[in-house]
């Protein structure tokens, strides 16, 4: 039987400087197609004083600055990416897109 030499491995020092200016991975979102992202829908906002905030109790309502028929905003990572109207899709909310870039 051949004798196997066992020796520690020494890694080469990583070079942090790019060899050329071109990105190695092309900007192709299709590569990320399977990645799931979480979306939020901003329903509306309101302004409250600190005192009011700390006096709120269960069952109390806060009136938002959005009209009932105004579009809501779809957000990705806190950034608005589309607007649309809330719909009922079965037992869940859905969004009918009205504006998107």
């Amino acid at each position: 039987m051949n004798e196997v030499v066992v020796a520690p491995i020494e890694l080469e020092e990583a070079d942090y400087e790019a060899i050329t200016g071109d990105p190695l991975i092309k900007r192709n979102l299709a590569l990320l197609g399977h990645v799931n992202v979480r979306l939020d829908v901003l329903i509306g906002t309101a302004e409250l004083s600190v005192e009011k905030l700390f006096s709120l109790s269960k069952g109390e309502s806060i009136v938002l600055d959005a009209e009932l028929d105004a579009p809501v905003t779809l957000q990705l990572d806190g950034k608005p990416i589309a607007r649309g109207y809330l719909m009922a899709v079965g037992d869940c909310f859905g969004l009918k897109i009205s504006e998107i870039l």
């Binding site: 409250l48 709120l56 909310f93 897109i97």
Partner: protein, 258 residues
């Protein structure tokens, strides 16, 4: 760390302080200067010099409540004794020094007593501290003249504040911070966690398309403050023609949006 407050004392306090020092010097001169006449005693406020600007060390009485210093303007302390006693010659140098030092210690004690300091430290030749130096640190200085004898006197801010306390209130009464916060406006937002979609689906979204979310019709919304901290949950409702949220529960204080 040695903390020295920055800032000049106001002109009103300087004037009051000069008058206070002048009154003490007049009484002291009456008791110590053999040729005392009120007309020959003069006290003028001036601006103290930097500690490093003087070539000689001053005589200082100092404790934790404040410091007072006498700069003798190129003279020795026995010269003060000779001037006060009037008739001492070179043979009486020891007596002249004793009288000079005792007299200045008495003047320091009188001023310190006015500041409520009952047991003043003895005078000693000490390099002037920074607090007795520049006017920008609140020190006060005056030139004292008894006839032809001139000496400079300086007191630090601690002593100044004891002699002529600053007015505590410079305007409206202070209110507790919590009370002041009460009316600060905050913007809250009602946000629905819509669920996850793949980037492929996101890229293909078009106007008119309906995206089904994961949020049930009876699920609660999150209430965020300034877009960051989630503080409560509530259900989507209406209030007249406006949307509203009816509060249901409180979130833990440390939930934040990423």
């Amino acid at each position: 760390m040695n903390e020295v407050r920055f800032g000049w004392i106001g002109e009103t306090r300087r004037t009051t302080l000069r008058s206070l020092v002048a009154a003490e010097v007049a009484d002291w001169s009456h008791d110590w200067w053999i040729h005392h006449t009120a007309a020959d005693v003069d006290v003028r406020s001036n601006y103290p010099q930097e500690a490093g600007a003087r070539k000689t060390s001053p005589w200082i009485s100092s404790n934790e409540s404040g410091s007072i210093a006498f700069h003798l303007v190129g003279k020795e302390i026995d010269a003060v004794g000779r001037h006060l006693a009037g008739a001492l010659g070179d043979d009486d140098a020891e007596w002249a020094q004793h009288i000079g030092q005792s007299a200045l210690e008495d003047l320091a004690a009188r001023i310190l007593r006015r500041a409520g300091i009952g047991k003043p430290a003895k005078l000693s030749l000490t390099p002037a501290s920074e607090s007795l130096g520049p006017a920008r640190l609140g020190a006060f200085a005056a030139t004292v003249a008894l006839g032809s004898l001139k000496l400079n006197l300086a007191v630090d801010r601690q002593l100044v504040d004891r002699l002529v306390p600053p007015h505590a209130s410079m305007g409206a009464n202070l209110v507790p911070r919590h009370d002041a916060l009460g009316s600060v406006p905050l913007r809250i937002s009602a946000v629905m966690d819509f669920g996850k979609v793949s980037l492929t689906h996101l890229s293909d979204l078009r106007v008119g398309e309906v995206v089904a979310g994961d949020c049930g019709l009876e699920e609660a919304l999150e209430i965020y403050i300034e877009g960051r901290s989630s503080v409560a949950t509530g259900y989507l409702r209406r209030s007249g023609t406006q949307r509203a949220v009816m509060l249901d529960g409180v979130n833990s204080q440390d939930r934040h949006k990423p």
